[in-house]
Structure formats: structure tokens, C-alpha cells
């Protein structure tokens, strides 16, 4: 190839490449972001709900209907211990309340276009497959699944998805707050650098008086070593229930933990029971002069009141305070310090 021919080839490729690049920059879809990866939840908010699990009778921050509240109060944590319920998938939005990693990947059509983004589940939640091909939403009578039916669209660098066709499931794990199969979730996923912010807006015509909004942060694990757990094994968790046919529950008005948040944290009953008015600043006017914090962390507030919990299962005890931390205090930062001081 002569030098002129080489120059022309380089010039031609340069024009093509720059033009193609500019074209990409001009198309809104080009704003999409690579979401593929494994993410760990950054549990710097709602630690209790996401880590060890909510206190029973703690519906704070929830806008429940009377029906939703009544249903939640029938719940006992023995219920998911039944064999047939141990591996039941939870709500598509429950990953916002779980302490485990999630994976995100994309699937392609035969022409190489992104057909769907998938938020990978584990044994307690189904995959959420967000279709990007504009397919129509199925009939309302179509099958409802753990992951539901989701379609997505890019809004700048945010992937916005709309989920319907979900199964009846709990919104928060471990405390019985219900969602119906008419629930819908609008989800916004924004990744910038290693941080992925996910906002979910859940609506439910039966159990929520207004949308339940949660915004969380996840951090990319570049090693991808935190895979989600796929296998679920059942075990006899409550031997006394085996073969009895009993379904653990509380009768209406008989839940002994209904006042737990009141007697433990002095939280007003209507706040503990999840009334929407308690979510907004003006509710504080009702509290002023009435609410008094517990005198101090103590065995009255078992488990998680006292200090930063160093990591799951290994809470760090706080000095001069008596905490029911499961005997792990010596393993926490203060425990280690006390040990080294001896």
C-alpha cells in the first residue's frame, strides 16, 4: 500500500470513527451505564432491618393501611420456619432489606442489542429481569412471579424500571409487613463509579396508603467474590411443630409484641404501627413534650442498641453499658481493646 493510500485509509477511518463516536454521543441511549457486576449493600442506614432483622412490631417508616397493619400483626417469626415456607422467595423489592450481595448482568438478543438487565436473586428472591426491548406488559391475569414482569428505559445514566405481576410477599423481611399481588415497584438504578444507588417506590392498593420509598447504596465488588446464594436447604427448625399441621400465627389483637417498640424505645404506638402521618416532619409536633428517649442503652434495648455493630454477627460492645450482644462483645473493637489492656 502506497503512502497516499495509507493516508486515505487513516483519514477515512478517522472520519468514520469520529463521526460514529459523535453519533453515539448524540443518542440518548448512549447515556446508559454499565451496570454489570457484583454489588455489596452499604448498610449505613436501616442496619437493623437489613442485618439482624427488625424488632417484632416495628413498622416505623411504613405507610400501612389498616388491613396491612392487621395482617402484619398476625405474623410470628416462627411462620417462615415451616418446611414449606423456608425457601419461599420474598418480594422483588426485598433485596433493599437484605444484607447479602446481588449480581447484575445483561442479556443480548441475536443482534447483540441489550435485551434485558437482570438483578440476580438468591434463594429468597427471584431474579428481576428488566426487559429493554419495549415489549408490551402482559395481561393482568398473566402469571405472577417472585421477580415479576419488568420493563426498563434509560433516563440519562439512570435505568428506570417498572415492575408488575409480583407475587404476594413480605415487603420487609422478618416482621410480616405484607404486599399484595397488585403491588407495583418503580425502580431507579444509578451507577456512578463504584457506587450504585437504587431507589424503589412501591405501591400497593391493599396494604399501603401511599408509596413506600427506599433509597439504598451498593458498592461494586470488583473481584466479584460475593456471589449470591442459590441453594436453599430446609431443616427442622421447630421440632415441636413437625407433623402437627399447625401454622404459627397470632390471633387478631393477641400479638404480644404489638407494644414492643413502645415499651422498649418509648416510640409512640402510631409510629410503631406504621401510620403514614408519622413519616413527615409535622408529626414531630405531636411528639414534642411527649416523647422521652430511653434513659440509656441497656438490657431493656437488647441486641443492637449499643454502638456500631462491627459486622454481621460480631457486634462491638459499648463501654459502661450493658448490652445483650450475644456474648460477642469481646470480639468487637472495644472487647479487643479491653483484652489488650489487661
Amino acid at each position: 500500500m502506497g503512502s497516499n493510500a495509507m493516508r486515505r485509509a487513516v483519514l477515512g477511518f478517522g472520519l468514520w470513527a469520529s463521526g460514529f463516536g459523535l453519533l453515539l454521543a448524540a443518542v440518548p441511549a448512549a447515556a446508559q451505564t454499565e451496570l454489570t457486576g457484583t454489588y455489596m449493600p452499604v448498610m449505613h442506614e436501616d442496619y437493623i432491618e437489613r442485618g439482624p432483622g427488625s424488632f417484632l412490631g416495628d413498622f416505623t417508616g411504613m405507610p400501612l393501611t389498616d388491613e396491612g397493619r392487621a395482617k402484619a400483626l398476625l405474623y410470628t417469626s416462627n411462620l417462615p420456619s415451616l418446611y414449606e415456607r423456608q425457601c419461599l422467595a420474598q418480594s422483588a423489592g426485598v433485596f433493599q432489606y437484605r444484607p447479602v450481595a446481588m449480581r447484575v448482568w445483561k442479556e443480548f438478543d441475536p443482534d447483540g442489542r441489550v435485551l434485558a438487565w437482570v438483578i440476580g436473586g438468591d434463594y429468597l428472591r427471584g431474579d428481576i429481569r428488566i426487559w429493554m426491548d419495549g415489549r408490551p406488559r402482559p395481561s393482568v391475569n398473566a402469571q405472577h412471579t417472585e421477580g415479576g414482569f419488568a420493563t426498563g428505559v434509560w433516563e440519562g445514566d439512570t435505568l428506570t424500571a417498572r415492575l408488575t405481576h409480583l407475587k404476594t410477599a413480605w415487603i420487609r423481611r422478618g416482621v410480616g409487613i405484607p404486599a399484595s399481588d397488585f403491588t407495583t415497584i418503580t425502580m431507579h438504578l444509578t451507577r456512578r463509579g463504584e457506587l450504585l444507588t437504587i431507589t424503589t417506590v412501591q405501591e400497593d392498593p391493599y396494604y399501603l396508603t401511599e408509596p413506600h420509598v427506599v433509597s439504598r447504596i451498593y458498592q461494586l465488588n470488583p473481584r466479584g467474590t460475593d456471589g449470591t446464594r442459590q441453594a436453599c436447604n430446609t431443616a427442622n427448625e421447630i421440632p415441636t411443630l413437625e407433623d402437627t399441621g399447625e401454622v404459627p400465627h397470632y390471633f387478631p389483637g393477641r400479638n404480644p409484641e404489638e407494644d414492643y417498640m413502645v415499651r422498649t424505645f418509648n416510640v409512640p404506638k402510631e409510629a410503631a404501627m406504621g401510620y403514614a402521618e408519622t413519616l413527615y416532619p409535622e408529626y414531630r409536633k405531636k411528639l414534642k413534650g411527649l416523647y422521652l428517649p430511653p434513659a440509656a442503652c441497656s438490657e431493656r434495648t437488647p441486641g443492637y442498641c449499643c454502638g456500631w455493630i462491627e459486622r454481621q454477627g460480631l457486634p462491638g460492645g459499648a463501654p459502661n453499658l450493658t448490652c445483650n450482644d450475644g456474648g460477642f462483645a469481646e470480639l468487637g473493637p472495644r472487647g479487643r481493646r479491653r483484652t489488650s489492656d489487661r
Binding site: G156, T186, T190, S215, E282, T301, R334
Partner: protein, 253 residues
């Protein structure tokens, strides 16, 4: 050969046209670039927003007990300070606003009122504690003076797509420094003067027309935190200012 070259040029020109339109909307050149940050805004943050306290209710809506501070990656020094929290001492020192500095107030039960102070400064007011934050774009940054509860905030728009006469997408990024030491939470959880707060402000519209302001909030304090404290906060838009209710700082409630 001449025809080939002409073809390349026509293709290149055609491809370049829409991109220059984008460049204009992004303020990167073109015939009429936005003159001010106010004009260049890819997202409208102005208006009144109310915090939806659906997370950490017990630590945000009410004042928790002394020593009750899960979720925040505090180091030992910070834990000891938090356990020595004495609101009476703060009141006596005239420091009732320690929990209302930029790293703390945004997680409070507050309404936000966001307006343009001028073409290059966004003003954010809170009714909770009656605080004012100023986000200054570009060269209009304020020289650092005495440390204040709200510090000094630099701001920039980040455009992420859209344009060409259609909806534009982007977010506000702010970095706040020069903070007066205060509390991350009402019950005396400390942050130091070395704290840097980085925030990304996104608005998400819903199918029913409602809008949520979601702030990805990174509080980095090398003195009291083991790692940056990273949270996401959400507010919903209000149609009017009827519920705006300025209340002064309170060291206890």
C-alpha cells in the same frame, strides 16, 4: 477517488450535526452555549421538598438514647465522644445547632426550599433548624472564611444525556468543606472539621407525576469515621409552601 472523499465528508458532516446540538445543550461549545449555570441546569431542583422518613425512623424522627448509634462506621474515639454527649453543655455553649450542620441536617425531619440566589448560586433552606446552604458554581466559589455549620459548597452540573429539543438528563454534584465540627446524629455522634461531604442530587419522576429528590450522600471524616458514611436520602416534591414550618435548633428534641 474524489467521489469517495466527498462521500466521507458528507457522512462526517451529517454525523457531526446532531452532536453539536448536544454539545450546545451541554455547554461545551456551539453557537449559543448556556450563559449561566442557572440556564445550563439539566434538572430542576427548585421548589419545596419534604423528607420522607421511611428509613432509620428511630434515629431521624426522634432523638435516640445516648450511645445508640448503629449504622455509622465510627471509630473508638468517636464512640467515646458520643457516649459523653451532654446536650446541656451544648446549650450552655450556645451550640444547639451542632446536629444541624450539613452532614447532619440533611438526614433530619426537614423540608427543603431550593431557589436560585443568583445565576450561579443555588440556595437551600431547611425549616428544621432554619439553616441555609449555598451551592456555588464555577468561579463564584467563596474564599474559605471561618468554619460554619453549612461550610462552603462547590457545585457543578453533570449532564448525562438527552438534549436536541427533548428531555435532558443530569444531576447536581456538590462538595462541601470548611465545616464547623458538629453531630451526624442528634445524640452527639461527632464529625470533625476535616469532614468533606460529597453529594449527588438526582430527581426521579414517577408515572403519576410525583417527583423524588434522591441525594447520594458521602460523608468522609478521617478523624471520627473508619470509612466514609454513605447513605441515600429521599425527599418528595410539594406543590406549595403551606407546610413550611421554621423551627430553631434544639439540642435535645
Amino acid at each position: 477517488m474524489r467521489r469517495n472523499r466527498c462521500t466521507w465528508l458528507i457522512v462526517a458532516a451529517a454525523l457531526a450535526l446532531p452532536s453539536s446540538a448536544v454539545a450546545q445543550t451541554q455547554g461545551r461549545g456551539g453557537a449559543a452555549p448556556p450563559a449561566t449555570p442557572r440556564q445550563a441546569a439539566p434538572v430542576d431542583l427548585a421548589g419545596q421538598w419534604v423528607a420522607v422518613i421511611s428509613e432509620d425512623w428511630r434515629w431521624r424522627m426522634i432523638t435516640p438514647s445516648k450511645g445508640d448509634f448503629p449504622s455509622i462506621p465510627l471509630n473508638l474515639k468517636a464512640q467515646e465522644l458520643a457516649e459523653a454527649w451532654d446536650p446541656a453543655k451544648d446549650e450552655a455553649a450556645g451550640e444547639q445547632c451542632k446536629a444541624y450542620g450539613a452532614p447532619g441536617v440533611m438526614r433530619g425531619p426537614t423540608r427543603l426550599r431550593i431557589t436560585w440566589l443568583d445565576d450561579s448560586t443555588l440556595k437551600l433552606e431547611t425549616d428544621y433548624g432554619m439553616q441555609t446552604r449555598l451551592f456555588r458554581f464555577g468561579a463564584a466559589s467563596t474564599p474559605a472564611g471561618p468554619r460554619t455549620w453549612q461550610g462552603v459548597s462547590r457545585a457543578e452540573w453533570v449532564v448525562t444525556g438527552g438534549g436536541r429539543g427533548g428531555r435532558r438528563f443530569g444531576y447536581l454534584r456538590t462538595v462541601t468543606t470548611n465545616l464547623r465540627p458538629g453531630y451526624l446524629r442528634k445524640n452527639g455522634v461527632p464529625y470533625s472539621a476535616s469532614t468533606v461531604v460529597t453529594e449527588q442530587w438526582d430527581v426521579h419522576a414517577q408515572p403519576n407525576g410525583s417527583r423524588y429528590l434522591v441525594i447520594t450522600n458521602i460523608v468522609d471524616d478521617p478523624v471520627y469515621l473508619q470509612s466514609p458514611w454513605i447513605t441515600a436520602l429521599h425527599f418528595t416534591a410539594e406543590q406549595d409552601g403551606n407546610k413550611w414550618d421554621p423551627t430553631p435548633c434544639d439540642a435535645r428534641f
